[in-house]
Every structure is written in C-alpha cells, then in structure tokens.
C-alpha cells in the first residue's frame, strides 16, 4: 500500500515512516502543505496521513483543496487539538478519520487498514471478516462458503459493523445510520442484532451493555 505522510515535525515524521515501513507500507513523506498537495496529485497515494498544523499551507486548507478537486483519496488527519470544534471542522471538510496526538503505531496502523479497506471495499464491493464474506453489489453474505439470507436492515447493520470493526458503535449512531428518520420500535435494533447472531454465530457481535455494539478486530 502506498501512503503519503504530510507531517512537518521531523522526529514524528521519521518515526511514523520507519514504523510503517517496517510493517511493509511504502511511505512517501513531505513536510509542508504545498508539497503535500503536489504529492497527492503526482504520486496518487492510496491514503494520505495529514497533520493539521503545517507551515505555509495549513492541513485544513490542503484537505479543502483536495476535496475541491473531487479527489476521493482517503485522508486520515493527525491533530494535537482535541476540542470538539477542531474535530468537527476536519470531518466537515472531508477527512475520513482523525487521530489525536499522541497515538500508538498500532492504533495508526489499524486506522489505516480500516480506512483503506473501506475505500477498497467501495471499489471491490466486497468485505471479508473471519469466515464471513459480504458481496456489497449482490448484497449477498457467505458464511464458510454457504449463502446466508439476511433482511435489508440486517445486511446494512452487518456491513456497518464490519466496516468499523474494532470500534464501539453507539446505539444512537447505528439507529441513525440504519433507520434514519423512520419511526422505529424501541427494540428494533436489538431484534436485528439478535437475528444476525442467530444466523452468523453468537460471538460475532459483542454487546457493550447500555452503550452499543462492536465487532472485534481480527
């Protein structure tokens, strides 16, 4: 996988490049916004890791320009600012995910993989998780090679959880994503989760009681 790292801090940039190279990623590293923009255009990376605090062209400006050019490259923001406004600003401008400094390499790598998978998934239109594979185009699910019939909502729920494996998705977030503005019975989500577990295995989806659900990282 080819990554473009835009980070002005020499120590941190070097550390990230070394750490990710060790894991087999091909990392190009630039240290300011203009070079970042040029790199995104010329190198066509699979994913961009973008620091927000850059000399010259600010990280948010870079992001704005990239999205303005209708470039869908996945962007992971690195930020030292943890206020809600700062996070929202980044996501509003089209970042796919953000990571607050400091972070562990493992976390960074997990986010990169998840982002990449999602962007690839959209292209390949298929997702796999353990013994489960999902064809997004045909909307079919195979468990150990055997097709399993899922309802529309069950399918959407499964894809959402698979897409964000490792993350806890709160009930509210799931309900917003799956049911939108529809009127729903208060236990509709529980019913669908229950049914998914029955069809795909009871340990597939974990409950965080009172909070939500998640699928663990592989």
């Amino acid at each position: 996988m080819q990554l473009l790292l835009v980070e002005d801090d020499t120590l941190l940039g070097q550390g990230i490049r070394n750490g990710l190279s060790d894991k087999g990623y091909q990392v190009d590293w630039v240290q300011d916004g203009e070079s970042g923009l040029a790199g995104i255009r010329d190198l066509e990376p699979d994913l961009v890791i973008l620091d927000l605090c850059l000399p010259g062209l600010d990280g948010l400006e870079v992001l704005k320009t990239v999205r303005h050019q209708h470039n869908p490259v996945p962007v992971l923001i690195l930020t030292a600012r943890d206020t809600v406004e700062d996070r929202i600003a980044g996501l509003d401008l089209g970042a796919d995910d953000y990571l607050l400094k400091p972070f562990s390499l493992a976390e960074l790598e997990a986010r990169i993989r998840a982002l990449y998978r999602r962007s690839q998934g959209r292209q390949d239109e298929s997702l796999t998780y353990r013994n489960l594979s999902v064809d997004l185009k045909a909307r079919s699910v195979m468990l150990d090679g055997t097709p399993v019939a899922l309802g529309k909502r069950e399918f959407e729920l499964l894809v959402l959880l698979m897409d964000r494996r490792g993350e806890v998705l709160t009930r509210r977030k799931l309900e917003e994503q799956i049911y939108g503005q529809d009127d729903l019975e208060s236990n509709a989500l529980e019913v669908h989760i229950h049914s998914l577990r029955k069809k795909l295995g009871s340990d597939l989806i974990k409950t965080i009681r009172g909070v939500g659900y998640r699928m663990e990282r592989e």
Partner: protein, 457 residues
C-alpha cells in the same frame, strides 16, 4: 448614600427649590410687615391729628357730648348687626373691626373721651409711638400732646389687624407655589428620566449580550459624560478579548508543542525493536506524560469557562455512550468491561464537552484501578430535582480520610499505582463546581469506589 442618580438629582433640586421658596416667603413677609407698619403708623398719626382737631373744635363750642355720642354711643352699639355695610339710607353703618381701632382724649389729667369705652389705656405721659399690652391684646399706640389746650390725644390699633394683613399677603404667595410644586416635580422627573436615557440604553445593550460577545459598544451620538464611560468599557472589552485569544492560542500551541514530541517519542519507542520487558516501562512513562499533558490542557481550558459556561440541553446518555465507546481500547487493555445503565429523564442543561471530559476522567480512573475481569458501570438516574451520575468500580477504593484530598490538584494516593498525575479528580471537581453539581466518593458494595455526581436541574 443615595444609590440612584435620578433620586439624587430629584432630591437635590427639590431641597434647593424648597429652601429658595422659604427664603422668598420669609423676605416677602418681612418686607410687607415693614411696609404695612409704616402705612398704618402714618394713618395712626393722621387720625390723631384729625381727632385732635375735632376734640378742640367741640371743646370750644361745648359740644363734646355730641362728639362722644356719635363716636361712642353709636359706634358702641351692637356692632355685630351692623358689620356689613348697610343698604342705602341707613344711618350708622358699622364694621366689626371698629373695635380694633381706638381713640382717647385726655385733658387736665381727666379722660375726656374714649372710643370704644372698653379701651382702657392708662393716662399718657409721653408723646409718640408705643407698643403695649392691654387686656391680653397687643396694641400700637400713638400719643399726641397739645400744650395749648393741655390735651393728650391718643389713637390705637390692635396689632392683630396688621399681622392679619401680612399673613394674608404671605398666604396669597404660598398657595401658587404649593400648587406649582407637584407639576414642577413631575416635569423635573421626566426631564431627568429623559436625560438618563442613554445610560439605560447602554445597560440594555450590555444585558442583551451573549456572554461571549466582547465587541465594542457603539459610541456615536453619546452624551459627553457617557463617552468616557463607554470608552473605558470598550477598552476593557478589548483587553479581555485579547487576553482570551492569547489564552486560546496558548492552549492550542501548548497542545501542539507538547503532543507532537510525545507522539514522536511513542512512535520511535514502539518501532525501536526493544524487548517488551525493556520497553514496557518506557511506554508506561510515555503514557503517564500523555495523560498529564491532556489533563493540564483540560484544566487550562476549564479556567476561562468558569464564568462563561455555554449550557445547552445535553443528553447524558448520548454523551456517556460516546465516552464509553472512546475508552473501549483502554478497557480492553486492562481487560475491564464497561456498562451503561440509564433510567428516567437524563437530559439536563450543561456544557456537553465538559460533561464528557468529566466522565472520561472518572472512567479512566475507574478502569486503571480495576482488576482484570471486573466491570466498571456508569449509572444515570434522572430524578425530578437532579440527575445522578454514578461511576462504580470494584477496585481498591479510596479510604474515607483521603477522599477530600484526592479532589485537589496533583494529589496521588500511591505514586507507584499506575499512570496518572492526580489531576483527573480535580478536573472532575472543577467541572462539577462550575455546573453547581456536587461530587461524592463512597464505597461500592463488596469493595471498590463509587463516585456520585449530582447535577441539580
């Protein structure tokens, strides 16, 4: 001390007006009393001369008895019935005030004539004016001596007549003043109110402001006196604005300056290839630094929001869910389960960001001090008068004697007790304080710490 400019002006003007009115009245009555005195004294002298002429004339013609008759008998009749001027043709019109004016004629040490007869002044000895007391009345008396006929002529007038006139004049002056006073007062009050309008306008402008609005007040078309006040307020606003911006910039810069090298340290450490038993202490130190930095930044950000809390209806269930979801990796690391239990109405006016910072700190502590395999539970209990937020762990707990101290900054029970700088609970205490909420530390049934935060509605 009068606390209102309007009342101060009103009372001040009123006092001055009262004083000047009283002074005018006193001067007027004094002057008129003096003038009245002179006129009446002159008329006393004139009457005395006239009466003297009459008495001499009648003495020479031996008709004093006739004079006495017309002066004393007719006038001495029942005067009350004649007090009004009679219709035409009546012979002897009288006036009640006649008794207040008196004549006397003394000749050869004998009282020759006295009108009215009740007038009992003693035999005169000196000529000229005198003021005397007669039968409880004050009289003004003029005595004239005629040495040719050895005749003493005396005219008298009750002082009451003069005083009455002076009083009448003064009273006539007072009534218009008393009548105009309320009108004047009303007009004055309106004028003052009108004059103070710009002040009221400024206070309304300040009142209707958002607590974050530090823009300058408009200072065009302001009265001269307010120009300086508004100028001073605006300069203060400007300084405040700058200070707040500096503070914000500082926390931003500090966040960046501290977190970036920490991130570099961690990333280098993780990719250093050191064996786990060597790197784990280093990683723990880094973790403690990271936490300290984020808590210090949280505290730095909290201080200015003490007075400028931006409250909105906050769904505590949503905030708690998000915080728990965020802290799941930390819980996984310690093999601790997290749970949320929710009951009643859990929406409250609060600043959502701060509520999440509070809960994050409580949960981080609870997770860190929990045994592997145990559960940390967040409870939200909506009650009519308050919302109770509970974080219940089954760790070692805190002894009652230490509970007050752990809410203060940089207090740690046991330095070897995992990462942390002892700031977490003081952040919790500060956030609770600025929301008017109270924090209580208690024991969990079966061991462990329960933190109760009560948010008043």
């Amino acid at each position: 001390m009068i606390r209102s400019i309007r009342a101060y002006l009103l009372l001040g003007v009123l006092a001055m007006l009262g004083c000047s009115t009283l002074l005018t009245l006193w001067l007027t009555s004094w002057h008129s009393a003096h003038e009245v005195e002179e006129v009446f004294d002159a008329s006393l002298v004139q009457s005395a001369r006239f009466f003297h002429g009459l008495v001499v004339d009648h003495q020479e013609q031996n008709t004093v008895e006739e004079l006495r008759h017309s002066l004393v008998v007719l006038a001495g009749q029942d005067m009350e019935s004649h007090w009004q001027y009679s219709e035409a043709g009546e012979l002897n019109p009288g006036h009640p005030y006649e008794s207040k004016i008196a004549f006397q004629a003394w000749g050869s040490d004998q009282l020759r004539l006295s009108s009215p007869e009740t007038f009992k002044a003693p035999q005169p000895e000196v000529a000229g004016f005198a003021s005397v007391e007669l039968q409880g009345m004050s009289w003004r008396i003029y005595t004239l001596y005629d040495p040719v006929h050895d005749l003493w002529i005396r005219t008298g007038q009750q002082m009451a007549v003069r005083e009455e006139l002076t009083e009448q004049i003064t009273a006539k002056l007072i009534s218009p003043m008393l009548l105009t006073l309320p009108v004047l007062l009303l007009l004055l009050s309106l004028v003052i109110q009108w004059g103070l309008r710009p002040l009221l306008k400024i206070s309304r402008q300040l009142d209707s402001r958002d607590s974050n609005d530090l823009e300058a007040l408009p200072d065009e078309r302001l009265p001269l006196e307010l120009h300086r006040v508004v100028g001073a307020i605006n300069r203060l606003f400007c300084r405040l604005r700058e200070a707040l911006q500096r503070e914000k910039r500082f926390t931003h810069d500090a966040a960046h300056e501290l977190r970036t090298p920490l991130a570099a340290l961690r990333v280098h450490l993780e990719s250093s290839g050191l064996p786990a038993e060597r790197s784990s202490f280093l990683l723990q130190s880094v973790a403690r630094m990271e936490r300290l930095v984020s808590q210090l930044l949280a505290l730095a950000r909290l201080e200015p929001s003490r007075d400028r809390l931006e409250k909105s209806a906050t769904d505590f269930e949503q905030v708690s869910s998000e915080v728990i979801a965020e802290l799941m990796p930390l819980a996984d690391e310690g093999e601790v389960s997290l749970e949320l239990e929710c009951g009643g109405d859990v929406t409250l006016q609060a600043e959502a960001t701060l509520v999440s910072v509070l809960l994050r700190n409580l949960l981080e502590n609870a997770i860190r001090y929990s045994e592997a395999g145990s559960t940390v539970k967040v409870g939200l209990h909506g009650q009519p008068d308050q919302l109770l937020l509970q974080v219940i762990d089954h760790g070692k707990g805190i002894l009652p004697e230490h509970r007050q101290a752990v809410l203060q900054r940089f207090y740690r029970l046991n330095k070897s007790d995992g990462p942390g700088a002892g700031l977490g609970l003081s952040i919790v205490a500060l956030i609770a304080e600025i929301h008017g909420a109270s924090v209580q530390l208690c024991d969990t049934d079966g061991g462990g710490l329960t933190v109760n935060v009560s948010w008043p509605r």
